[in-house]
């Protein structure tokens, strides 16, 4: 993005910004202003940025750093993605051929964090029960978004990154998802970073960041 587009940002072009564990952050911006990019930088999907990102104090990971010049080595990145960071992608990144349950299971198998029963229970609270064993390609966009949210919670994390998680949900469904997410982040004492076009009142945020 060009420099004019990021004017007035709370993150871009400032010397340092710190996300702290246990807090909830709302990242607000108009379309195309770098919300997804910010989460991708943090998650290590993209390294197209100036400066560097440091990951400090994770019990199992230690302090790691990532920058465009020195992207994080693959094993560290994977450790981070399995132990410390979880991202709910804006484009969901689900596997259409697999059922809702299998999609979640595929992620959960990496860490064995939840039992199959726990996964089913989480899906049951958000989806009509018949849907969880149907291939994801047969589900509506809103239903898929809920599957992606459940999947993001099926691993240990210190930061849960949600990229416009409620964009295809009505208020009631969004509230259900938000409640589940709030419960899980409290349980894991994790930070929450949620991106949205407009401020939302579904969570009690500690800080709102404008890009």
């Amino acid at each position: 993005m060009s420099e004019s587009e990021v004017t007035g940002s709370d993150i871009y072009l400032i010397p340092e910004f710190r996300f702290e564990k246990g807090k909830r952050y709302m990242v607000c911006a108009r379309s195309g202003h770098g919300k997804t990019s910010l989460l991708n930088f943090i998650y290590g999907v993209s390294h197209r940025f100036d400066g560097s990102i440091e990951y400090r104090g994770f019990d199992s990971v230690g302090t790691l750093a990532s920058s465009a010049a020195r992207p994080m080595p693959e094993h560290q990145l994977l450790l981070l993605r399995r132990r410390a960071l979880s991202l709910m992608f804006q484009d969901l990144c689900l596997f259409d051929e697999l059922t809702a349950f299998e999609n979640v299971q595929l992620k959960n198998r990496l860490t064995g964090f939840k039992t199959d029963a726990e996964i089913r229970a989480m899906l049951d609270t958000l989806l009509p029960s018949a849907k969880k064993d149907q291939p994801v390609r047969t589900l509506s966009l809103g239903q898929r978004q809920r599957v992606a949210a459940v999947r993001a919670m099926c691993q240990p994390f210190a930061f849960l990154l949600l990229d416009e998680p409620f964009s295809h949900l009505d208020h009631q469904s969004a509230a259900q998802v938000a409640e589940l997410i709030a419960r899980e982040t409290e349980k894991q004492e994790a930070a929450l970073i949620v991106t949205a076009l407009d401020p939302t009142s579904l969570f009690h945020f500690d800080a709102t960041i404008n890009l």
């Binding site: 999907v45 693959e74 992608f89 051929e97």
Partner: protein
């Protein structure tokens, strides 16, 4: 689960194509190696003397030369010319005995059969047979002799047949002891002797080279001549026949060179060397083609993998994004390719073994063959390892390249 996802990315036809081309290539590679290992002893046996592509060369005897015997000898200029040719590796001379030789055998009742003989010798490395008794030293009174196989055949199939005499075997001939008297330079000496071997290639009566050098010095005409007398050159040093070693017997310059100079060259021997050379060349050709087939089949699978990964790029990126590592993503394809490759190698080894059974049966009806199929299995194991390493590394590299493109 990940297998379920990745299974859909593969086309059975691609896998079948890989399996089939690899199988064909492997069968040919293994079979060529095994045929070469099986046939090599026969080639060596048949062409031992000509393993360096050596042939006997003499001058053509014409009517003119019967009157002037000097013309059958090679002079220094001719020898130099021959030695300087690019296709000639080395030239060795036949040494002739420069003394008279008489062989006799005492028969019960006081009689004696005797005959005049001649001896020649060549350096030992040109011999096609090397009997244990082929040893001589000046203290020994035993003189081993090698005669051409044809002499015995001439007797058995010509003389014995027409005179109603019994035929005799090589073994029987080797049992017969007789005496040799050499005379010259006013001296004589008697040796006990025996035929110790039969040469299939060198058409003369051979004695050890060491013996002939020694005997020519002591009993030869040359020994009587003063040392400072340059002419005539002693006949022992004027060769009438040469053994010529070639680098490559199939060189096209060879026949024309000898023809132009009126030299007689043992064509059949040259042909034999040529055949062996061509056989080796053909085997090498088939082997190279087979290796190309194997390489192409590996190229097919690597290209197929590239295609699969590119067609399903988002699947691979998603798996990587949710935390799957490159080895985990590549594992399914690696297993599949490894299993196909290993099964192919085993199948190729079995097919090659069965085919070997067919030709060994035919070969053993013609020649005494030894050798086992062990080479085939060693080659199969080595090929299997190499292919597995190559395929696994390639698949992992393709996956890594795809997921780390961001």
């Amino acid at each position: 689960m990940i297998n379920k996802l990745q299974r859909r990315t593969l086309s059975p036809w691609q896998m079948a194509g890989y399996a089939l081309t690899l199988l064909v290539g492997l069968v040919i590679v293994l079979l060529v190696l095994q045929i070469y290992a099986d046939v090599r002893p026969l080639l060596t046996q048949q062409t031992d003397v000509f393993k360096n592509h050596a042939v006997t060369v003499s001058k053509n005897i014409s009517l003119f030369k019967t009157a002037n015997k000097e013309a059958i000898y090679f002079n220094d200029k001719e020898l130099d010319s021959l030695e300087s040719q690019q296709f000639v590796k080395s030239v060795a001379r036949f040494t002739s005995a420069q003394f008279s030789v008489n062989a006799y055998i005492n028969v019960p009742g006081g009689g004696r059969f005797s005959t005049d003989l001649f001896f020649e010798s060549v350096p030992d490395r040109f011999l096609d047979v090397r009997p244990d008794a082929w040893l001589w030293d000046s203290a020994s009174s035993f003189l081993p002799i090698i005669i051409p196989e044809e002499y015995l055949q001439l007797y058995n199939f010509g003389f014995a047949e027409s005179q109603s005499m019994p035929v005799i075997s090589q073994g029987m001939v080797e049992q017969i002891s007789f005496n040799i008297v050499i005379r010259g330079n006013g001296q004589s000496r008697t040796f006990t002797s025996r035929i110790v071997g039969f040469s299939g290639k060198i058409n003369t009566i051979l004695v050890p080279d060491d013996f002939l050098q020694w005997a020519n010095c002591r009993y030869g005409d040359a020994a009587a001549a003063p040392h400072d007398m340059p002419h005539p050159t002693p006949a022992a040093q004027r060769p009438s026949r040469l053994l010529v070693e070639f680098d490559d017997a199939s060189d096209q310059r060879i026949p024309s060179y000898f023809e132009n100079r009126g030299l007689n060259i043992s064509q059949s021997e040259l042909e034999n060397s040529k055949m062996v050379f061509l056989f080796r060349l053909a085997m090498l050709g088939v082997f190279v083609i087979a290796v190309i087939i194997v390489v192409l089949s590996v190229a097919i699978i690597i290209m197929s993998m590239n295609l699969v990964v590119h067609k399903n790029r988002s699947l691979f990126l998603n798996l990587y994004a949710i935390g799957y590592s490159v080895p985990q993503i590549a594992r399914y394809y690696q297993w599949l390719v490894s299993i196909i490759t290993a099964l192919d190698v085993v199948a190729a080894a079995i097919v090659a073994m069965l085919l070997r059974g067919l030709y060994v049966r035919r070969l053993s009806s013609m020649f005494a063959t030894g050798g086992s199929g062990a080479l085939l299995f060693v080659a199969a194991a080595v090929l299997c390892m190499a292919l597995l390493v190559l395929c696994n590394c390639s698949v992992r590299r393709i996956v890594r390249k795809t997921v780390s493109q961001n």
